[in-house]
């Protein structure tokens, strides 16, 4: 019998997280507005004082190419020790945000951290209340996935100064939490027998991480497409997009995220097959959830190939990655709610 008191606190923490995320999202939006050239000019007097620090910031986001092998932000930046010649500089300097804009971005990120901690606390308390891994139904999966996504974003944003991405990550997270609370809510209870396995931890945790990383990669992909378009057709009125890192660097960041997501997703697929062998007697039966897991894997595999093919421009490849994420969303919503199969764990009737 789950502890009603803990469930209450868990839900309270979830509501609080939603409130904090809402404020954080609004301030992230204000940050983007403050990044705009008009606002930046107004703050340009103050900016000169901050140039040294801002220079460091641009190096941080310039090395955002991939998720592996990077220098920690506090290490001396290698750029000043290495002269890049003969090739176009990989990342021309980003327009430095004004001091006020950076302050706004910092506040928004601190609030995102606060919301994330509340959300993680909510997930932990739910787990303690039912004494099992807290991702046994759709509500719990959505909450845990949102927690993983916001945690991943906060960690990355602190290291790489991705405050400008906040609106596009915290927004979807807030939407997910709203759906979880008001459409998918399921009473705290014990697990059904098929889920009582150590693979619930291995398979589902990796799936949650994969979805979290894909989510940030998706947002990054969209920002890249917008930025790329405005680089090709410079608009008459400049806005915050012009102050974002160059499109090529955004594309590399999106690729890095999707690549990590793809590795995690491959692991999810294999771990799921091993669990299916234990639970359903066959490692692959083309159950709807298996079909869609496979479809997502194939679409992201196509993305990896498209990006490795010389003839394909990164923009087209990015569209494939976005299609892959749409499949992730369908897999979670339509497949859970409308298709009948062995993965009937939504907890909804």
């Amino acid at each position: 019998m789950p502890s009603a008191e803990l469930v209450g606190y868990s839900n309270l923490a979830l509501y609080s997280a939603m409130a904090v995320f809402t404020v954080s999202m609004l301030i992230f939006a204000a940050y983007l507005a403050a990044l705009g050239p008009v606002a930046a000019e107004r703050g340009s007097k103050r900016r000169s004082r901050e140039l040294v620090a801002a220079g460091n910031a641009s190096v941080g986001s310039a090395s955002a190419g991939s998720a592996s092998a990077r220098t920690p932000a506090d290490a001396p930046p290698p750029a000043d020790a290495v002269q890049a010649e003969g090739v176009p500089a990989s990342d021309p300097p980003v327009g430095e945000p004004s001091a006020r804009a950076r302050k706004t971005g910092n506040i928004a990120l601190y609030l995102a951290w606060l919301g994330t901690l509340l959300l993680v606390a909510s997930v932990v308390m739910r787990g303690l209340a039912v004494m099992r891994p807290p991702w046994g139904n759709m509500f719990e999966f959505a909450t845990a996935g949102a927690a993983a996504a916001s945690l991943a974003y906060c960690l990355l944003a602190r290291r790489r100064h991705w405050e400008w991405l906040g609106l596009f990550v915290i927004g979807p997270i807030l939407l997910t939490l709203g759906l979880a609370m008001f459409a998918f809510y399921t009473e705290a209870a014990e697990l059904m027998p098929a889920l009582k396995s150590v693979w619930l931890v291995i398979h589902v945790v990796v799936a949650i991480l994969a979805v979290a990383v894909f989510t940030i990669g998706f947002s990054m992909g969209i920002v890249y497409l917008v930025k790329r378009r405005r680089e090709e057709h410079p608009p008459a009125r400049r806005n915050f997009v012009e102050t974002l890192p160059p499109a090529a660097s955004l594309e590399r960041a999106a690729y890095g995220l999707n690549m990590v997501g793809f590795i995690l997703w491959t692991f999810t697929l294999v771990a799921g097959a091993i669990w299916a062998q234990k639970a359903w007697s066959a490692y692959w039966t083309w159950d709807p959830k298996e079909v869609w897991t496979f479809v997502i894997w194939v679409v992201y595999a196509a993305y990896m190939h498209a990006r490795a093919t010389a003839g394909w421009e990164p923009r087209k490849a990015t569209w494939i990655a976005l299609a892959g994420y749409v499949c992730v969303l369908l897999n979670f919503t339509v497949v859970n709610l409308l298709f009948t199969g062995l993965h009937s764990y939504s907890g909804l009737k």
């Binding site: 290495v82 003969g86 907890g347």
Partner: protein, 520 residues
């Protein structure tokens, strides 16, 4: 319009012979562009299998679908939409992909083999032309600087070679291409493993009621699905005695979770070989038992009410636990009791078993909770020819073509409601039916898949290969050493060349610079 058209000279194209065409086809098939197209096609082709019911999963559902979609159903059937994953078009796509894969793996393996044995190339003359480079002044002569640079690169797991006295060439990241090849080869092996499982594996399902014993032979399975190469005469001869089947359901929490299953456990006594020692064990979801190479899973359960049918003189015509199949989450179950021994004509009962009956029957016979809190049988009675023309039929339903239903005096169908311990006297001296007690049954599935270990090993290799191919960076680093005016110092230039986008290269060069600047 134009009055003068210049005479057209046909473009001379090389004529392709059959070999030429074959080469062209092979080149096109194995190109990355085609692979990409096939991948996208595969993802789209897999989707219908999740939308339409599949015969391999639920044949009855397919029949229902066709019956309720009379125009589209048969066409979808003809086009293979109910067997997507064995359809011609799906198979064609993945077989083309496999060919494309092999056509990619073979030449790249050959190339990689040569690369692995080759030495890093000579250092370019002007290192400042490379992607990135650093310079430093080394405290030592030219030879010691060269040795120190080579040592530092070896320490970073580079393959190092000196083609002359003033340069060092180093390369690392061979694992990237190795991983890539392992990944793609692993995928092919996964497909081989799946094929082995399909050809040599088998699956047998059986419904076993409490107290019954099952011996694994071909005829004793309720359904048996052999692979194309399975020898059904050589099944492992294990036996399973179901001592009890236990199930618990949620009754503490309300809402959608009320009545959700919480545990299923089959207590069994097993013997691997006839006459061998017997073992007591439990089978539950996620915990199969392995008997003589076959894995036995608990995949279903339900109720088997024990029913006795007697004739007018009280002689027992039928007495056994009769499985009723659950139709929903609250175990509203359907089944049939066929009494062929009844005279003058055979008797049959069909209807519902309700573990917790809703007493008013306002919506017909329904159960309101999956556990047996208020069990009840609701049966209609039939007589006549049970097996018309000896057509095959399910044990859970009646073929009523040659049966007539018994009615009450007012002409309405006779409905019998029985609780455990109760007996109903059938009209006109046909005898009686008693509901003695409720047993449970276990749906067991024995399965042998000789390809699964191969598939597992290949899948793990695939993950490792994928990680290597995406996370390892292929780098070349060249060092040139040059004497300066000061004989105790040497000018060292280090240049780096990345094969793909490589944000970490700068850090490696900076690290080398720091290490060599310190001197010894």
């Amino acid at each position: 319009m134009a009055t003068q058209t210049p005479p057209r000279t046909p473009v001379t194209q090389p004529r392709l012979g059959p070999v030429g065409w074959a080469r062209w086809a092979w080149r096109s098939l194995t190109s990355m562009r085609t692979a990409l197209f096939l991948l996208l096609l595969l993802s789209i082709a897999a989707v219908p299998g999740s939308i339409f019911p599949q015969r391999s999963i639920d044949a009855a559902k397919v029949a229902d679908f066709i019956a309720s979609n009379l125009t589209t159903g048969p066409w979808l059937d003809r086009l293979g939409f109910f067997e997507v994953y064995s359809s011609v078009w799906f198979s064609a796509i993945y077989l083309l992909l496999v060919i494309s894969l092999v056509g990619c793996i073979v030449p790249r393996s050959r190339m990689h083999w040569h690369t692995l044995r080759a030495k890093p190339p000579r250092a370019p003359r002007n290192l400042s032309r490379l992607d990135q480079h650093v310079e430093l002044s080394y405290a030592g002569d030219v030879d010691s600087a060269r040795a120190a640079a080579a040592e530092a690169l070896r320490g970073r797991r580079f393959r190092v070679v000196s083609h002359d006295d003033e340069s060092v060439s180093a390369e690392s990241g061979y694992l990237r291409e190795t991983g890539n090849l392992v990944f793609h080869t692993g995928l092919c092996v996964v497909i081989i493993g799946v094929a082995v499982g399909h050809l040599f594996g088998w699956r047998g399902d059986v419904i076993l009621t409490e107290g019954d014993t099952f011996s694994s032979t071909l005829s004793s399975y309720d359904s048996f699905l052999p692979g194309a190469m399975t020898d059904p005469e050589k099944l492992p001869p294990f036996a399973i005695d179901l001592r009890s089947m236990n199930a618990t359901f949620e009754d503490q929490v309300g809402g959608a979770q009320f009545g959700a299953p919480r545990s299923f456990t089959a207590d069994v006594t097993t013997t691997e070989q006839p006459g061998g020692p017997s073992t007591q064990s439990e089978i539950s979801p996620n915990h199969p038992v392995t008997l003589d190479g076959a894995d036995v899973f608990l995949l279903g359960n339900g109720y088997a009410p024990v029913v006795t049918v007697r004739d007018a003189s009280g002689a027992v015509l039928y007495q056994q636990a009769t499985p009723f199949l659950a139709q929903d989450n609250v175990y509203t179950s359907v089944g049939a009791i066929k009494v062929g021994a009844a005279r003058p004509t055979a008797l049959a009962f069909s209807g519902f078993f309700l573990p917790t009956a809703e007493p008013t029957y306002a919506n017909g016979p329904t159960s309101i909770f999956p556990d047996d809190r208020n069990p009840e049988l609701a049966l209609s009675v039939w007589e006549g020819d049970l097996f018309p023309a000896n057509r095959p039929q399910s044990v859970y339903t009646l073929d009523t073509t040659n049966l007539t239903q018994l009615t009450k005096a007012d002409g309405t169908p006779l409905l019998i409601r029985l609780q455990p311990g109760q007996t109903f006297q059938l009209p006109d001296g046909r005898g009686s039916i008693s509901f003695d007690k409720v047993d449970r049954f276990a749906g067991l599935s024995a399965r042998v898949d000789p390809g699964k270990e191969l598939t597992l090993v290949a899948a793990i290799a695939t993950i490792l290969g994928l990680m290597a191919s995406l996370l390892v960076r292929r780098r070349r680093i060249f060092v040139r050493v040059r004497p300066t005016d000061d004989p105790s110092r040497t000018l060292v230039t280090i240049g780096g060349l990345a094969r793909t986008s490589d944000p970490g290269l700068g850090a490696v060069l900076a690290g080398l610079r720091t290490e060599l600047s310190k001197g010894r």
